[in-house]
């Protein structure tokens, strides 16, 4: 009888405590990167917004982004131009109508920086990111988090910050703000299952 009471009390206590433990499961930076490093391949649709304060031109582009660990990142644009850009550690391949190019990453350091940072993030390579950036990690309600990268090397002459937002182990958006005031934001969304299968 006494054993029965003890068991009931324990069940009650556990059932009361569980919501608290679930709510306080704030992800740590190392855990986040560890979880990211487990992802070997992924694809998401993206919306890319850009603003150029000098020319006062804002643009929005749509497409699908493919990632394959550790070195492949491909952006397939659907609108406004159909074409693709493939990033690898040494190369940027451009494949657009009337424009097929293969460029060394050294030729476009800013673009290379963006793709490389993105790849390091998707690879969960925290050590490499820490080499070039100061990292500020903040969590928020609903298991959300925000990672702010501030360049510490020569990139600080061009780039102000890179802000990454997400929740749990998902990346929702990446915002690159340049010293010149230009910004570029990529928002990632899951692809509906049907579309992904077709793809």
């Amino acid at each position: 009888m006494r054993l029965k009471q003890t068991a009931l009390k324990t069940i009650l206590l556990v059932s009361l405590y569980l919501p608290f433990t679930a709510f306080s499961q704030e992800i740590k930076l190392s855990e986040l990167f560890n979880a990211l490093s487990q992802v070997k391949t992924d694809h998401k649709s993206f919306i890319e917004e850009q603003f150029d304060p000098l020319l006062e031109i804002s643009q929005t582009k749509f497409g699908v982004m493919y990632y394959q660990s550790p070195n492949l990142l491909e952006q397939h644009y659907e609108k406004p131009i159909a074409g693709s850009i493939t990033f690898s550690p040494t190369l940027i391949k451009i494949n657009f109508p009337n424009r097929k190019l293969e460029l060394a990453v050294e030729s476009f350091p800013e673009i290379a920086l963006f793709s490389q940072t993105f790849l390091n993030l998707l690879n969960g390579n925290l050590a490499l990111l820490q080499k070039s950036f100061d990292l500020a990690f903040k969590t928020s309600e609903n298991q959300g988090w925000q990672l702010k990268l501030t360049p510490t090397n020569q990139l600080k002459n061009h780039v102000q910050t890179i802000q990454i937002r997400g929740s749990q182990t998902e990346i929702h958006s990446i915002l690159l703000t340049k010293i010149s005031g230009d910004w570029r934001k990529i928002t990632l969304q899951d692809i509906p299952l049907k579309k992904a299968v077709v793809k």
Binding site: T90, E102, A104
Partner: protein, 773 residues
């Protein structure tokens, strides 16, 4: 206080060496680079444009060295661009490497450079701006802008037609090499291409090769470049020369040891040679300011005769009779003086390298003679004979009873044989200097292949275009450009480079300037061009301003152009040459498939004075000229010997008796080469001068020895020792794989054999009757 009255009494030999050391110290103090390696110092001073151009292009002017490198993968799964990047990274770690280019170098915006390139504002005059294409160009920029591939927005707005990029491609042709994965790749040959700029130090070049060999493996790369080839040649020469010269010197010392059986005497006999080298070098540097290494190498061969003087003198002392020494010394002196004055004749060939050789060899021989004389007290002491003058009177007159039979028996048949052989089998001359080069055919082939891969101009494939001034030159080049493009299209040439591509004539610049649209027209064109984009015509105000500025710019002159930056100055120096009162445009050609087509092209433009520069042909012509000069000098040397002998004997027949073995030996050596089907070069001819110098000693000593009533054995013994040392050392040289050493060794070997044999025979019969005074 007591004053000492003792005089320091140094022997003359010591004084000579003190003098040489003091002289060497002064030369070393005042001359920081006493040795030079400039092959142009051996070229005749021809006035033709080609000759002057050749001399100019062979003069070393670059401070750094450029190497071409082609690599292939050593693992099937490895990508070429990965190898290229890895090799670049590894080479950059080495000391002495300035830069390694593989095509992945970032393209920098001119506006982000500090300072902005001076030529940037001239872009609309340096290149052809086509207003009609502005619309499509703006469309293209918009696409790049959308994709985020804009290097510098300010540059885009200032130069939407990318005139600066077009001009850069002309300035740096290597940027046009095909790329794969962002690096230069030749897909046809599956090779990644890299350009390496290094310090001009052999150690740095050798280190690069070592590193590549270690990283890639010997068979996975090809390396070439002018300095690399020079280093290889130097190493091959060193390899070939070191052991063979050591062996030759060893043979000389062995022969001396057998003959004199005394290390002390070997030491004595080496002193005149040492003095000859030292004084020869110091005289040349003092007179010319520096000495060419080729002079030193070839002059050293001529000085080989100097070792004979102490040999003859020591042989005379071995008789332990001062009378023998007194008799033999004037003969040695005469031989040395005539040889020295003979070599001095090289001065009259108006080529600085040979003039240096004249000073080096003649001053060296005179020093060797002086030092041999200074050795006499030591030799007297060694052989314990008194240096007092012998009461035995030397023979000072030889009666001329040489019979005419001598001419019938020896001279006439000899001359007939020589004439017959040379008539039936004329001498084959080898004037192609490349055939004497120690550079292996593989190395030359590799260089040719790499030049083709890099689309570099081939060595010796240029068109030369003379003009009174730069403007005329540029206009003439512009007139030729369309036809050169046709040659390119037809596949007769792969590429061409000329000055007008990077600096248009003032006439063309003015025409371009006049054709530039005014601001109103530009704005109208822009407003149409931006229609399908989200650019606004106002965005391109910097471009409108730049065009307007270009309309008012003073035209670019050649002087301003070369002051612009290092690249333009360097390119200009390669594409134009200033010669006294005219300018020579150099049009470099690469991938020439047919010389005949180029010759025809030149024929069609004789009105412009266009010349096809054929380096090999030109060098061969110059060598022919040197050869003819050397032949004349050889003749002068023989005449000089004849005059010297006349002054001694005052008897034509005796002069002929001594001289004829030398003349015949030279003739028979040439005939021997003809019979052996060996082509002769200028080095064979120079070696014949040494044969003459050695020959006069043998001939004189044989002739004088034959007159002696006693101790004639010492005379013939002295010649025998000298003959064997010469035979041994030059016999070894004749076995060398190096064409140059082989030529020298073989000529002296054959020549000395002939001169020794003839001088011996002629001195024996007919024996002249000696009359004592």
């Amino acid at each position: 206080m007591k004053m000492t009255n003792r005089q320091i009494n140094f022997p003359s030999l010591v004084w000579i060496f003190i003098f040489i050391i003091a002289w060497a110290s002064l030369v070393a103090y005042f001359n920081k680079s006493p040795f030079q390696n400039d092959i142009t110092q051996f070229f005749p001073n021809q006035q033709s444009i080609e000759a002057q151009y050749l001399k100019n292009r062979l003069t070393p002017s670059q401070k750094t060295s450029w190497l071409m490198l082609a690599v292939k993968t050593n693992h099937p799964q490895q990508e070429l661009y990965e190898v290229s990047q890895a090799v670049q990274a590894q080479l950059l770690k080495l000391k002495g490497i300035k830069q390694v280019l593989n095509g992945s170098e970032p393209y920098q915006s001119p506006l982000q450079q500090s300072p902005i390139p001076k030529l940037y504002r001239y872009r609309y005059l340096m290149t052809s701006f086509e207003p009609a294409q502005l619309s499509s160009q703006i469309q293209q920029r918009w696409q790049e802008y959308q994709l985020g591939f804009v290097l510098d927005k300010h540059w885009l707005l200032d130069d939407p037609s990318f005139q600066w990029a077009l001009y850069q491609n002309k300035l740096k042709p290597s940027q046009q090499l095909a790329k794969e994965n962002g690096v230069w790749i030749n897909s046809q040959h599956a090779k990644a291409l890299l350009l390496i700029e290094t310090e001009k130090r052999p150690a740095v070049l050798a280190n690069i090769y070592k590193q590549l060999e270690l990283t890639l493996g010997k068979n996975n790369f090809e390396l070439s470049g002018a300095d690399w080839i020079a280093l290889q040649a130097e190493q091959q020469i060193k390899k070939g020369v070191n052991w063979i010269t050591s062996l030759a010197i060893g043979i000389v010392f062995l022969a001396l040891l057998i003959a004199f059986r005394s290390p002390k005497l070997i030491f004595f006999s080496s002193l005149p040679l040492l003095g000859a080298f030292s004084v020869g070098i110091l005289s040349t540097i003092s007179l010319f300011g520096s000495m060419q290494l080729i002079t030193l190498a070839l002059g050293a061969i001529l000085l080989g005769v100097a070792v004979d003087y102490p040999i003859h003198t020591i042989s005379a002392y071995q008789s332990k009779k001062i009378s023998v020494v007194q008799k033999i010394w004037p003969t040695i002196r005469l031989g040395a003086l005539t040889s020295a004055f003979g070599f001095l004749m090289l001065w009259w060939i108006d080529i600085e390298g040979l003039q240096q050789m004249a000073i080096f060899a003649s001053s060296g021989l005179l020093s060797a003679l002086l030092m041999t004389k200074a050795l006499k007290p030591y030799l007297a002491s060694h052989y314990k004979i008194s240096e007092i003058v012998s009461s035995e009177k030397p023979i000072n007159k030889v009666t001329g009873q040489t019979q005419s039979l001598y001419f019938v028996r020896y001279l006439l048949p000899g001359l007939v044989i020589i004439a017959a052989v040379l008539f039936l089998k004329p001498i084959q001359w080898q004037d192609d200097i490349a055939s004497l080069s120690p550079i292996s055919k593989d190395l030359i082939q590799t260089d040719r292949q790499l030049r083709s891969l890099f689309q570099y101009q081939e060595v010796g494939k240029q068109l030369l275009l003379p003009a009174k001034n730069i403007e005329d030159l540029l206009q003439h080049e512009e007139a030729l450009m369309a036809e050169l493009e046709n040659l390119k299209t037809s596949g007769s040439i792969q590429q061409f480079q000329l000055l007008a591509q990077i600096l248009p004539s003032q006439l063309l610049q003015a025409k371009r300037q006049q054709n530039l649209p005014d601001p109103t027209t530009v704005v109208t064109s822009l407003s149409h061009a931006v229609e399908a984009t989200r650019f606004k015509s106002t965005h391109f105000q910097p471009f409108v301003n730049s065009l307007e500025l270009s309309r008012q710019l003073p035209l670019m002159t050649y002087e301003k152009f070369i002051q612009g930056n290092e690249t333009s100055a360097q390119l200009a120096s390669q594409r134009v040459l200033s010669l006294s009162d005219q300018f020579i445009g150099v049009i470099s050609l690469s991938g020439v498939t047919s010389d005949q087509v180029i010759e025809e092209f030149v024929q069609q433009h004789t009105d412009l004075g266009l010349i096809y520069f054929n380096q090999r042909k030109l060098v061969a012509e110059q060598i022919t000229e040197i050869r003819s000069g050397l032949f004349q000098i050889l003749g002068f040397i023989l005449i000089m010997l004849g005059i010297s002998l006349w002054l001694k004997y005052r008897n034509v027949r005796q002069v002929f008796t001594v001289l004829s073995p030398i003349v015949m030996a030279i003739g028979l050596t040439l005939a021997t080469f003809s019979l052996l089907h060996i082509s002769l070069s200028i080095f064979h001819l120079m070696s014949l001068m040494l044969v003459a110098a050695i020959g006069i000693d043998y001939s004189l000593l044989f002739f004088e020895g034959a007159q002696q009533t006693e101790h004639s054995n010492e005379w013939s013994r002295s010649i025998r020792v000298a003959f064997l040392t010469t035979l041994g050392s030059f016999g070894i040289l004749s076995m060398s794989q190096l064409v140059l050493l082989n030529a020298i060794g073989l000529t002296v070997l054959i020549g000395v054999l002939w001169v020794y044999g003839l001088a011996f025979l002629i001195s024996k019969k007919p024996k002249p009757i000696v009359k004592q005074c």
